[in-house]
């Protein structure tokens, strides 16, 4: 037995030394790390494939990712005030404004980004940097339906009986419904006309689904037309689904995905290096390629042919929204939507 105990002790000692060496070796090797919240799915996979190696190569910094949707990031950061569970946010405009209201970001100094000059105007502010764009319009199946022209076509025959709708839970859903409302006399803060028009055709609408299930519902032929973004259209096309993106007559909607440093982060320096890597031309170009299908923000990247614009500057003419006005109304819109669509 004594012999056995010795081996165990030896084993533990060796293990301790080994793990100590590993830990030392690691800290001596990398110049530290940065923990970033990341959208699960396409974003996480694309960042693992392109940003992680690029950041390691350029700055010797390890990127750790915590998969979280925008709304979950805000909820987590808010729940752990002062000790954020990650250093960097990645957010859509709605949650971005909420985070700003609740003081969740460190002040941002854009001059610390080496690639700042390559971004079009308005892509940085005192709170963060834009890393990707999203363009929202109509996606439809050209084999089953004629090409729609405007947002109002969604609520008309023959399109409405094949329409897939989502509510105000997502950014793309919210801006699409606002655009439909505008065509019927509404505005950014008045979606009443949408509800009035929707009620008239509600029984015909093919499907009203969870946002995450919309691509699957389209793929399965449950609906053949829906409001969506170019990324989803490109991803579905990559899976041989018959879908085409249409820029509505009144203009496609653009919104931007931004990154921010979490208040209380201890890796501010590495967070800047991370952001700079994300907006660098090679990484942006790689993120634009299938199956990632991001819309880049770096002027040096030549835009993919399927995108509804020839240059990034054209996006200035796309429809934009003020989320500081939308956010306060969103809760009541969601409540209203629940009541209107449930039988």
């Amino acid at each position: 037995m004594t012999h056995g105990r010795f081996t165990r002790r030896e084993f533990l000692a060796t293990a301790a030394v080994a793990s100590g060496t590993l830990a030392l070796g690691r800290s001596a090797h990398a110049k530290g790390s940065v923990t970033a919240a990341m959208y699960p799915g396409t974003w996480e996979e694309a960042f693992r494939a392109h940003v992680v190696p690029a950041l390691k190569k350029a700055h010797d910094v390890d990127l750790e990712m915590t998969p979280l949707f925008a709304v979950d990031q805000i909820a987590k950061a808010q729940a752990s005030r002062g000790a954020p569970p990650f250093d960097a946010f990645v957010l859509d405009p709605g949650p971005r404004v909420t985070g700003l209201d609740r003081g969740l970001y460190e002040k941002f100094d854009a001059k610390r980004l080496g690639n700042l000059g390559r971004l079009p105007a308005g892509m940085v502010d005192e709170w963060g940097v834009t890393v990707a764009a999203q363009v929202v319009g109509i996606g439809y199946n050209p084999k089953k339906l004629p090409r729609p022209k405007s947002w109002t076509d969604l609520l008309k025959d023959p399109w409405v009986s094949r329409l897939g709708m989502t509510g105000f839970q997502t950014t793309y859903g919210t801006v699409s419904i606002i655009e439909i409302s505008k065509q019927f006399g509404g505005s950014e803060t008045n979606v009443e006309p949408f509800f009035v028009e929707m009620k008239k055709v509600l029984s015909k609408v093919a499907t009203i689904g969870a946002p995450a299930s919309m691509p699957a519902l389209f793929q399965q032929g449950q609906c053949d037309i829906t409001y969506t973004n170019t990324q989803t259209v490109a991803t579905l096309r990559g899976r041989d689904v018959d879908i085409e993106f249409v820029k509505p007559e009144s203009g496609a909607v653009a919104f931007f995905t931004t990154m921010h440093i979490a208040k209380g982060s201890r890796e501010v320096e590495n967070a800047y290096k991370y952001f700079d890597t994300v907006i660098s031309a090679p990484v942006q170009a790689a993120l634009m390629q299938p199956p990632n299908n991001f819309i880049p923000v770096n002027r040096d990247v030549k835009l993919a042919p399927y995108l509804p614009m020839a240059s990034l500057d054209e996006m200035a003419r796309f429809v934009r929204h003020d989320w500081s006005k939308i956010n306060p109304l969103r809760a009541s819109w969601i409540e209203r939507f629940n009541k209107e669509v449930s039988k």
Partner: protein, 279 residues
Amino acid sequence: MRFRWAEWQLVLPLGMAYAAFFLVPLALLIAVSVFADEKITTLGLATWHKFLGDPFTWKVIFDTVKLGCLTVAATTLIAYPLALVYLGAGPRWQRVILFVVILPLLTSVVVRTFAGIVILGREGVINQTILWLGLSPAPLRLLQTEHGLVIALTQIEMPLLLLPLLSVMSRMDPSLRDASAGLGASKWRTLFRVTLPLSLPGLVAGCMLVFASCTTAFISQFVIGGNRLVYLPLLIWQQSLVVYNWPLASVAALTLLVSVGLGVAAISALGRRSRAYAV
């Protein structure tokens, strides 16, 4: 009985885990629910008033409980005959049945739910079969309907009912059924007077699990049911993670807790009553 510290020490780890990960969060949930504003600054019962004063809330509570009842009924109708087959099968077939029952548990609920879209959709397996057999001129609407959701949940929740049921049934003394037959009881009489009463504890436990699980199955409800069917978990998700109204989310969560709790208690009471009747 004398209090024996040595024995109590054994439950200490679980007790502490419960306290830390269930009781404390529950207390927090209750605390957050008594704030009147979404920034959590003013105390008051305004959130409760707003939520419970809205007739829509009561419709949602009713629909949630109804979904639970329908799923429990459908699961029982399908699971019980299967359990009887298990009871009559030899050891090898029993193993096969058990494996088939457990199989769905080995895949993630998300995968099973998205498979539901493929199976129940317009161009899904069920509709293609129905059209091929000429049973209906057009595809049936199964996705985003209550009956479609019940079909999907029945498949998803089936193991939760079958496992306790099979475990109770396999411990049943087979000579009791033989005795019943030997004394001249018909097969149906043996089923209702011997097998069913003896298997009730497993059936009741399974029904409680199914009820609690399907009324709170947010992903399945939202993906298969869509936005046309609104249940309490959807309200909780919208309020907590889309509009950040945590007091309202807490109120909805506590409402769900109470409604599911009452449903489970009702099933348990029903089980006790029918056992008394059967004996």
